[in-house]
C-alpha cells in the first residue's frame, strides 16, 4: 500500500490543525475502537465558512483527508460545503488505497457533523438539510510482514 504524494504532503504538513474558540459549529465522528476520530470546527460568517480547523486521531489517510476537507470548504458557502463528497476529497488527494477509502467518508461526515451542529445551534433541525451522519463501516482484513 502506498500513499500518493498529495496524501503524504497533507499528512506531513496538515493544513488547519487546531481548534476555533468561538466556532459556529463543531462535529465529531468515528470512534477510538475503530482507530479514527475526526473533530471539525467551523466558523460561519453570513453564509460563508470563513474558517475551518480540525483535530484527528487516526492513520495517515485520516489526517490527510481531514486536512484536505478543511481546505476544500474554507471560504465556501454553506451550500457548497454541503455538496462536499468523499469522492471530491479523494480526487483532490490523487486517490487513496482501497482500504483507506473509509477515511474520506469519515472526513465528509465530519464536515457534515459540524454543519449539523451549526444548524442545531440555531434551533434548526439539520437532518432534512444535511442528512444523516453515518457511522463508519470498515472493511476488515489483514496482510502481514512477519511471514
Amino acid at each position: 500500500m502506498a500513499y500518493s504524494e498529495k496524501v503524504m504532503d497533507h499528512f506531513a504538513n496538515p493544513r488547519n490543525v487546531g481548534e476555533i474558540a468561538d466556532a459556529s459549529g463543531i462535529g465529531e465522528v468515528g470512534n477510538s475502537k475503530c482507530g479514527d476520530i475526526m473533530k471539525m470546527y467551523i466558523k460561519v460568517e453570513g453564509n460563508v465558512i470563513t474558517d475551518c480547523k480540525f483535530k484527528t486521531f487516526g492513520c495517515g489517510a485520516a489526517i490527510a483527508t481531514s486536512s484536505m476537507a478543511t481546505e476544500l470548504i474554507k471560504g465556501k458557502t454553506i451550500e457548497d460545503a454541503l455538496k462536499l463528497t468523499n469522492k471530491a476529497v479523494m480526487e483532490a488527494l490523487d486517490g487513496l488505497p482501497p482500504v483507506k477509502v473509509h477515511c474520506s467518508v469519515l472526513a465528509e461526515q465530519a464536515i457534515k457533523a459540524a454543519l449539523s451542529d451549526f444548524y442545531r445551534r440555531q434551533g434548526i433541525d439539520p437532518e432534512p438539510i444535511v442528512g444523516k451522519i453515518e457511522e463508519c463501516d470498515h472493511d476488515h482484513g489483514c496482510s502481514c510482514t512477519d511471514c
Binding site: F11, A12, E28, S32, G35, T56
Partner: protein, 395 residues
C-alpha cells in the same frame, strides 16, 4: 538524514558471507539437483551438506529429519495440516494452540476447523506467555497436535517450550513449534527440548528470503502437502532452491556462532530503549519484560494511532512496524495485542522496534531523541488525547 532499520522481526539484511556462499549456485552451478550429470550432482551435494549442517545446528539426530520449504508459512502449514490429517485417520481430531500465534498457524487452524477439527486456543495472559498447566489441562485422548510458537513475532515473548515439549512427550502428543522468530536468538535444541516438529526461515537471521525448513523427528510423518516429484525424499515436491538452501544453512551457522555476544549487546540496548520510552507519559511496554527476545521492543502510546506514528518515524529515517496493523492495510488492531488484554483504542497506538547485529547504541540514542517529539506532535492534534487529558482533570 540518519537511516535506521529497526524492523528486523519483519526481515533482515542478507549477510555478505551468506551471499558469497550462495553466489556459485546463482551463477555457474545452476544444475538441477535431481539430474545425473556433474553440475546436478554438485548442486545435490550442496543441498545435502546444508541439510547436515542445519540438523547439527538445531540438535537433530539425523539430516533426514530436515525438509526444505519455501519459508516459515509453508513449514507451519505443512506441519499442522499434514500432521493433523495423518492423525485424523487414527481418530485424533483436536489441536491445541495459543491465541497469539502467527497467522500462518492461526489461519491454518481455522482452515482445519472447517475440515472438522476442534481447536483449543490457549490464553496468553497479560504478559504474553502460555501457561504449561493450561496446555496440560487441554490435552485429551483425541489431541493430535500441540502447536505453540517459540517466541512471539510482535511482542517477542519467549514461551516455555522445553516444559511444553516434556509435557507433550509424557502424554504422547506430537509437539510443533513455530521457531521463525526465535531461531538465532534463543538456545534451541530439538532433542533436549522434546520438540517433534519445528518451523524456521532464513530471512529472519540474515539469510535469503524464500527458503525455510521443517524439522520432523524420525517417525513423525505429516501427510504430503506439495505433491509432485520425488524431492525431499518424496515428502515435499519441487526443484530445490539450491542457492537459498545453501544461504539458509550458512546464515544459521553464523547467527548461532555469534548468538551469545549479540544477545548480551542487544539486551542492553533493548532495555535502555524501553526505559527511555517508558518516560513518555501514558506509554506501556507490551509483553513480559524479561522473557523476551533480545532485540524486541513493543510499546503503546495512548491517544495516538500506530500508522501515523510509523509514517512520522519513516520521515525521520526510522523504519519501524506497528503491531496495530501488522502492516498498513489492516484496520483491526493486532490480534496479539488484543490477546494480552489491551483495549482496542490502546492497541491501535502501538509501535514495534526490532534490532539485529546491524544496529548500534547510536541508533538507540537517535530513536530516543526522535520518538518523544513525534508522540507529542500527534497527541497535540488528537481529539482522543484531548479526552484522555480531560478525564484526567475530572479525576
Amino acid at each position: 538524514m540518519r537511516k535506521i532499520y529497526a524492523d528486523n522481526a519483519a526481515t533482515t539484511s542478507l549477510h555478505p558471507q551468506v551471499l558469497e556462499e550462495m553466489m556459485p549456485y546463482l551463477t555457474t552451478v545452476y544444475g538441477n539437483p535431481s539430474s545425473l550429470y556433474q553440475t546436478g550432482a554438485v548442486a545435490k551435494k550442496a543441498v545435502e551438506n546444508s541439510r547436515e549442517k542445519i540438523a547439527q545446528l538445531i540438535g537433530a539426530k539425523s539430516a533426514n529429519e530436515i525438509y526444505f520449504t519455501s519459508g516459515g508459512s509453508e513449514a507451519d502449514n505443512w506441519a499442522i495440516k499434514g500432521m493433523c490429517r495423518a492423525l485424523k485417520k487414527k481418530g485424533k481430531n483436536h489441536i491445541i494452540t495459543s491465541k497469539f500465534e502467527h497467522h500462518a498457524v492461526l489461519h491454518t487452524c481455522k482452515a482445519l476447523e472447517k475440515e472438522g477439527f476442534e481447536v483449543t486456543y490457549l490464553d496468553v495472559y497479560e504478559n504474553g506467555i502460555v501457561k504449561v498447566e493450561d496446555v496440560k489441562a487441554a490435552i485429551k485422548d483425541t489431541t493430535a497436535l500441540v502447536t505453540i510458537m517459540y517466541a512471539n513475532n510482535e511482542i517477542g515473548t519467549i514461551q516455555p517450550i522445553p516444559e511444553i515439549g516434556k509435557l507433550c512427550r509424557e502424554n504422547k502428543v506430537i509437539f510443533h513449534t513455530d521457531a521463525v522468530q526465535a531461531m538465532g536468538n534463543v538456545y534451541i535444541n530439538v532433542e533436549e527440548q522434546n520438540i517433534d516438529m519445528l518451523s524456521l526461515t532464513g530471512h529472519k537471521f540474515h539469510g535469503p528470503k524464500g527458503c525455510g525448513a521443517l524439522y520432523c523427528r524420525r517417525g513423525v510423518r505429516p501427510d504430503v502437502l506439495i505433491d509432485g516429484g520425488a524431492q525431499e525424499r518424496s515428502r515435499r515436491a519441487g526443484t530445490e532452491n539450491v542457492a537459498g538452501i545453501v544461504g539458509l544453512a550458512k546464515a544459521l551457522e553464523i547467527t548461532l556462532d555469534t548468538m551469545e555476544k549479540r544477545n548480551a549487546r542487544l539486551t542492553k540496548m533493548r532495555d535502555r530503549l524501553i526505559d527511555g520510552l517508558l518516560k513518555i507519559e501514558r506509554s506501556r511496554l507490551n509483553g513480559d519484560r524479561t522473557h523476551r527476545l533480545p532485540g524486541n521492543v513493543n510499546m503503546c502510546f495512548e491517544g495516538i494511532e500506530g500508522e501515523s506514528l510509523l509514517l512520522k518515524l519513516d520521515m525521520a529515517g526510522i523504519s519501524a512496524s506497528s503491531g496495530s496493523a501488522c502492516t498498513s492495510g489492516d484496520l483491526d488492531p493486532s490480534h496479539v495485542l488484543l490477546s494480552i488484554g489491551l483495549p482496542h483504542e490502546i492497541a491501535h497506538g502501538s509501535m514495534r522496534l526490532s534490532f539485529s547485529d546491524d544496529n548500534t547504541e547510536e541508533d538507540i540514542d537517535y530513536i530516543l531523541e526522535q520518538v518523544p517529539p513525534i508522540v507529542d506532535y500527534l497527541r497535540m492534534m488528537s481529539p482522543l488525547w484531548e479526552k484522555i487529558k480531560e478525564e484526567e482533570r475530572n479525576g
